[in-house]
Amino acid sequence: MPMKRFHNRAKIVQVEDVARDTVRLCLQVAEIADQVEPGQFVMLGPLAPDSHDPFLNRPFSVHACHDDIIELLIGVVGRGSRMLSEFVPGQDLYVLGPLGSGFQVPAGAKHMVLVGGGLGIAPLFYLAQHCSRLAAKTVLLYGAGNSEQLLSTVTLTDLGVELALATDDGSAGHHGHAGDLLLNWIAAQPEARGRDTYLATCGPEKMMAAVAAIGREHDFQVEVSLEARMACGVGACLGCTAFDVQGKAVRVCHEGPVFPAGEVFGP
C-alpha cells in the first residue's frame, strides 16, 4: 500500500440535516481528500477522546470529495452516530483514513449503473461524482423507505448523471424498490448487455443480493459494498472477517468493503 493514511483531528466545516435522521458532515482534511477513491471509507473517532466511551471508532464511507473537503453521510442509528450528528462546524473530530479497497470501475465500460438503497447511497454518490467525469454514461438508481428519507433531488441532479428514484411507500418516485428501477432501466436499454455494463450496488444485503442476481443474468460486471462490525478498520484485528463463496476469509475493511459480486453471492 503506497499511500500514507492519516489519523488526526480534522476540522468540521459543515453539519447539515439532509434527510430524516441523516446528516451530512463535512471535514477539512486534505491528506484524505487528496487520495481517497470512491468506495473507500474512514473511521471516525475516538468520538470522545478524553473518555473511554464510546470505545471504538465508527466506519463511514466517503460520500463526496472536493478540494480539501470530504463529506460523509451519517444515518443516526445509535449512540455514536447521534454524537456525530450533534457536532457543530468549527469543532474537531478524529478521522482515520482513507481505508479499504474501493470500486474498480473497468476502463472500457460503456454504461455505469449505480444502485443504492437507503444509506447505501453514501458511497455511490461519490462514485457517481467520479463516473460523471468519465466518458461513460452513468445512471443512479436510488431507493429509500419514503420521501423524507431520500436525499434532496437538487443535490442529486447537481451530480449531472441520469437519476431515477423509488420509495417503498410511493411517496416519491417509483412505488417500489431500487431493484425495480434496475429492471426498468434494463428494459429501456436493449443495447446494454454483457461486460460493457458496470453495475455497482450498496444497501441492505437482501437488496444487493437481488441486484447482483439481475446483473449476473445479464452478464454485467457487478461490484457490491459490504458492511461489517469493525474494531480497527485497518486489517489488524480480524474482527470484520467475512467468508466468500469459496469459504475464503476476507477482511471487509481491507480487501473490501467493495467486492466483485461473484465472490460474495456466487458466480
Binding site: M1, H7, F55, A231, G235, T241
Partner: protein, 318 residues
C-alpha cells in the same frame, strides 16, 4: 532533565524499551506501519499463530461494550508456514524485538510450533497463549489448570532456544497458584492478562451479539482486574511480568509497573488511536525524568508490592 535509560531484559530477551503491542491487536505489524512509529516500540507481539491455518469464528466478531469491547475472532490465522513465508520477512526489517504468539490444541502441537520457529532469523522470543482448550483433555483450557499450564510451558521452553513468555488467562480461580507452577517451567517471564470471558445479548431478540456467543473482554473495563493479577503474581513469584489489559495512556502503563510489571503491552487501545503505544512510551519516559529517575525500570516498585498485604489476607473489598 535526567537522561532516562529505557532498556531492559526479560531473561535473554533484550528490549530497547518496555512498551509492546499486544497479540491480536496489531496484526503482523505491517497493518499499522504508516500510522505510527513501529520502530519506537520495545517489541511487536504477533497475532497468535498455530501449526495449521485457522478459520476462526462466524461473524459478528466484535461488539463494543462499556469502556471496552468483546471479541470472538477465534484465533483466525494463516498457519505457521504462511507466517514464515509471508509475514516474517517484513518483521525482520523493523527495530523492535519480534515476539511470536503461539497456540495449539495439544501439548505436542505447542512443541512442534516452538521447534519450527526456533532459529528463524528475526524472531526474538515466543509468547505462549495458554487460554486455549486442550482437545486431549476434554477441552479444558491449558491455562486453567496448574499442571497443564506447567507442562505446556516446560515443553515449549525445552523445544526451542528462544526466551519464552507465558501469557496467562485471568479466567481462573487461583492465578497465583498457576503462575507459581509456570515459574518452575524454565520460562523467561509471564504476560498478564489475556481477555476475560464475557458475553452480550440483544435484549430485543434474546440472541447473543457475537456469532460465537461468548467472547473475550478487553479495554479499560478490565484494567483493575489486570492490575490486581500483576500485583498478586509479582508478590508471589520471582519472574518478570509483562502487564497487559486496558492501557490507553501512559499513566495506565506506569500503574502496571507500580504493581510490579517490568514491561507493558498496549492492546485494543491501538484500535482507537494507532499512536497509543508511542504516546505511552513518551509519557512514561518524561514522567521518569520528571521524577529524577535514571531508568524507566525504576518505575517498578516490586519491593513495595511485596510488602503490602495481598487480597487473600483480607476479605475482598475490605
Amino acid at each position: 532533565m535526567t537522561k532516562v535509560n529505557t532498556a531492559l531484559s526479560i531473561g535473554e530477551l533484550k528490549l530497547a524499551n518496555p512498551v509492546m503491542v499486544a497479540s491480536g491487536t496489531f496484526g503482523f505489524g505491517e497493518e499499522y506501519a504508516d500510522l505510527m512509529d513501529v520502530n519506537a516500540l520495545g517489541a511487536v507481539v504477533t497475532k497468535g499463530v498455530s501449526l495449521e491455518a485457522r478459520r476462526g469464528n462466524p461473524p459478528p466478531r466484535t461488539i463494543e461494550t462499556p469502556a471496552g469491547m468483546l471479541n470472538s475472532v477465534g484465533l483466525e490465522n494463516p498457519g505457521v508456514e504462511v507466517f514464515l513465508r509471508d509475514k516474517l520477512p517484513w518483521l525482520r526489517k523493523i527495530k523492535p524485538a519480534v515476539i511470536v504468539n503461539i497456540f495449539g490444541s495439544t501439548i505436542e502441537e505447542y512443541g512442534r510450533l516452538a521447534q519450527r520457529l526456533d532459529g528463524q532469523e528475526g524472531i526474538d522470543a515466543l509468547e505462549v497463549n495458554i487460554s486455549c482448550p486442550n482437545v486431549k483433555q476434554g477441552g479444558i483450557a491449558f491455562g486453567s489448570d496448574a499442571d497443564l499450564a506447567y507442562q505446556v510451558s516446560a515443553h515449549v521452553a525445552k523445544s526451542c532456544h528462544l526466551p519464552v513468555l507465558v501469557k496467562c488467562s485471568p479466567n481462573v480461580t487461583d492465578l497465583v497458584a498457576i503462575a507459581k507452577r509456570v515459574a518452575d517451567a524454565g520460562v523467561a517471564g509471564l504476560t498478564l492478562i489475556n481477555t476475560l470471558r464475557g458475553m452480550a445479548i440483544d435484549y430485543r431478540t434474546g440472541r447473543p451479539m457475537l456469532g460465537n456467543g461468548i467472547g473475550g473482554l478487553s479495554g479499560p473495563a478490565i484494567r483493575p482486574v489486570a492490575i490486581r493479577a500483576v500485583f498478586e503474581v509479582c508478590a508471589a513469584v520471582d519472574l518478570p511480568v509483562v502487564g497487559c489489559g486496558g492501557i490507553v495512556q501512559w499513566q495506565d502503563a506506569v500503574e502496571f509497573m507500580r504493581a510490579g510489571a517490568c514491561a507493558v503491552q498496549v492492546g485494543s487501545a491501538t484500535f482507537r488511536n494507532p499512536k497509543t503505544a508511542n504516546g505511552v512510551l513518551a509519557g512514561m519516559t518524561a514522567f521518569a525524568a520528571e521524577q529524577g529517575l535514571h531508568s524507566t525500570q525504576s518505575l517498578m516498585v516490586t519491593a513495595h508490592a511485596k510488602s503490602v498485604p495481598t487480597g487473600d489476607r483480607k476479605e475482598p473489598g475490605a
